[in-house]
């Protein structure tokens, strides 16, 4: 058998009443890969991240991490196993200072690389500021920093660039690609900003109505007519 995938979901299904948010999705991301996950609103991207990270329960299917079935693990156990995530809406601890919340996160990850993380994400100057009082762009990087503490093996990111300016988005993308390469982090990235996705992802999966519509390298995805008409439009 070939080397197991970093994160692998097989036949994942989640439904609300009669509505299927995910219908038997198969997704396998190789070690060290940056995988983009795109699709229109309601395609099931966030649901997939939620299922993989243990935030939402799935009805059927399994989640494997480096070959081990983690379907029954809680979110907190998955984090200890090396699976970290960020959230669509900024999800930090507003009343704590930047350094305090990174300190808390590093204690859980049992790896005190706070200074390293703050330096990489340009947060050092803000260390003693209260998170509620720093700019939105800084909060987004703090959010990412909370996920990156302890150098997780796998990082699931739900629209990390949402609400950022073009310049900020690309800067964030650059930091992310750089760190992923140096620390060997496997990344699954949900993002609406196509420029970010196409510039840093090794492969891209397109979700539509809870199922996979296409999967391939950025160039291959650009060439799939259904994807272009249904989602990308003529801009890419």
């Amino acid at each position: 058998m070939a080397e197991s995938h970093a994160i692998e979901g097989s036949k994942l299904t989640r439904q609300f009443g009669g509505f299927f948010a995910l219908k038997g999705v198969d997704l396998a991301v190789k070690r060290g890969e940056i995988r983009g996950l795109i699709g229109p609103n309601g395609a099931g991207k966030s649901t997939l991240i939620d299922v993989l990270s243990g935030r939402a329960e799935h009805r059927s299917g399994t989640v494997r991490m480096f070959g081990t079935d983690i379907s029954a693990m809680t979110a907190q156990q998955r984090r200890h196993a090396g699976l970290a995530r960020s959230f669509q809406r900024t999800n930090i601890f507003p009343d704590l200072t930047v350094i305090d919340q990174l300190d808390i996160a590093s204690r859980a990850a049992e790896m005190p690389n706070i200074d390293e993380i703050m330096a990489e994400l340009n947060l050092t100057a803000l260390a003693f500021r209260r998170a509620a009082n720093i700019s939105y762009g800084d909060q987004r990087r703090l959010d990412l920093a909370l996920a990156l503490i302890g150098r997780p093996k796998i990082l699931l990111l739900d629209e990390p660039a949402a609400g950022l300016s073009i310049g900020e988005s690309l800067e964030l993308a650059h930091i992310l690609k750089d760190l992923a390469a140096r620390w060997g982090v496997t990344v699954l990235l949900v993002e609406h900003d196509m420029e970010v996705v196409f510039s840093i992802c090794d492969r891209i999966t397109v979700l539509h109505l809870g199922a996979i519509l296409a999967e391939g390298t950025p160039d291959q995805i650009r060439g799939v007519p259904e994807v272009v008409t249904a989602y990308l439009g003529s801009s890419v």
């Binding site: 907190q76 959230f87 999800n91 704590l96 200072t97 305090d100 300190d103 808390i104 859980a108 003693f128």
Partner: protein, 334 residues
């Protein structure tokens, strides 16, 4: 978000010198207390102050729960009252020495809070308040009904031995000496809670209070820390109950009634639960206002209701919070 738990930065990685400063102010505060007791001659005044300080410890317990867990308890009289009844009953039945009775009186409410916490701590916000009110009142009902053990509504006197741990028991009933004891205990509790609040555990619970889900996703179990905060808060409350029993040598179901929980909560809110010492300040203000208002009007309860509403709407960080903010503006930096 509510102003009572989130307005200003309350947590920071305190560099070591601040611990020394806190310790120095704790020692200074205890010395001031002793000095105050030596200065004030009026027994009546000291009785009031001592009562206020014991209740301030109760309010500190209630306030700590608000500060660290962001939930409001209407049932802390249960922990207080159980401590009172434990000593009183243990001595009445003559089953153990008073020293052990005191230890048991501290242990029982603490253990109860831990077990109860495992069941109710995940219940958020308003439902937690409703539940604590109901659970707290259950113990009151029990004390009222179990007449053959508790003496029911009338309560009973506690027969203390002449000395506790070698200290003459009379000292605990003399308002002057008891003031010094209670005040020192209060100061030490506030000092201890401040250390805990500044510790990784304290910061973690604030993080859970702020964003429970994210705390889970950075790898924490979020139930146990909150249960431990409740347990600690109940322990502090039990200390107040023990002091009350030694001082008053009488217990009745009043010590379990929800109006006591409600008063402690009001004190915490008036003083400002964001600060560890806020609730204690609130308790002292509460007692003196009550004493003054009680002379001129019968509508103390209505007045305190109005004060509570005004504080909630106008200065949600409480008087302590307002004072601290003024202090910061005047002398603070950054």
């Amino acid at each position: 978000m509510t102003g009572i738990v989130t307005t200003d930065p309350i947590v920071s990685r305190a560099p070591p010198p601040r611990h020394a400063l806190a310790l120095a102010s704790a020692i200074g505060a205890i010395a001031c207390g002793a000095l105050l007791a030596a200065t004030i001659q009026s027994s009546l005044m000291m009785t009031l102050v001592t009562q206020a300080i014991i209740t301030a410890i109760l309010a500190t317990g209630v306030g700590f729960l608000i500060r660290q867990n962001g939930v409001v308890s209407f049932g802390h009289a249960a922990f207080y009252g159980i401590a009172c009844y434990t000593i009183a009953l243990a001595l009445k039945l003559g089953v153990m020495r008073v020293e052990f009775a005191i230890l048991l009186a501290l242990a029982l409410p603490t253990a109860l809070a831990f077990l109860l916490g495992l069941v109710i701590i995940r219940i958020p916000g308003v439902a937690f308040s409703m539940l604590t009110l109901a659970v707290g009142q259950a113990f009151y009902e029990f004390a009222m009904k179990a007449r053959h053990v508790t003496g029911g509504e009338d309560g009973f006197s506690v027969s203390l031995p002449p000395a506790i741990l070698g200290i003459p028991t009379a000292w605990f009933q003399n308002p002057h000496s008891m003031f010094v004891v209670s005040w020192s205990v209060l100061v030490l509790i506030i000092f201890g809670l401040a250390l805990i609040a500044a510790s990784p555990f304290g910061r973690l619970t604030v993080a859970i209070r702020e964003n429970e889900e994210r705390a889970r996703f950075i790898g924490y179990r979020t139930t146990l820390p909150r249960v431990l905060v409740l347990t600690l808060s109940a322990f502090v409350t039990a200390i107040a109950g023990v002091l009350f029993t030694l001082y008053n040598t009488f217990v009745s179901p009043d010590v379990l009634h929800w109006t006591l929980s409600g008063s402690a909560l009001i004190m915490a809110i008036i003083g400002g639960p964001r600060l560890i010492w806020g609730p204690a300040l609130g308790a002292i203000i509460f007692f003196f206002t009550k004493d003054i208002a009680g002379d001129v009007t019968e509508h103390w309860q209505g007045i305190i209701g109005v004060i509570l509403i005004v504080v909630m709407l106008v200065i949600p960080s409480g008087l302590g919070g307002t004072l601290a903010a003024l202090w910061q503006r005047r002398f603070g930096h950054g």
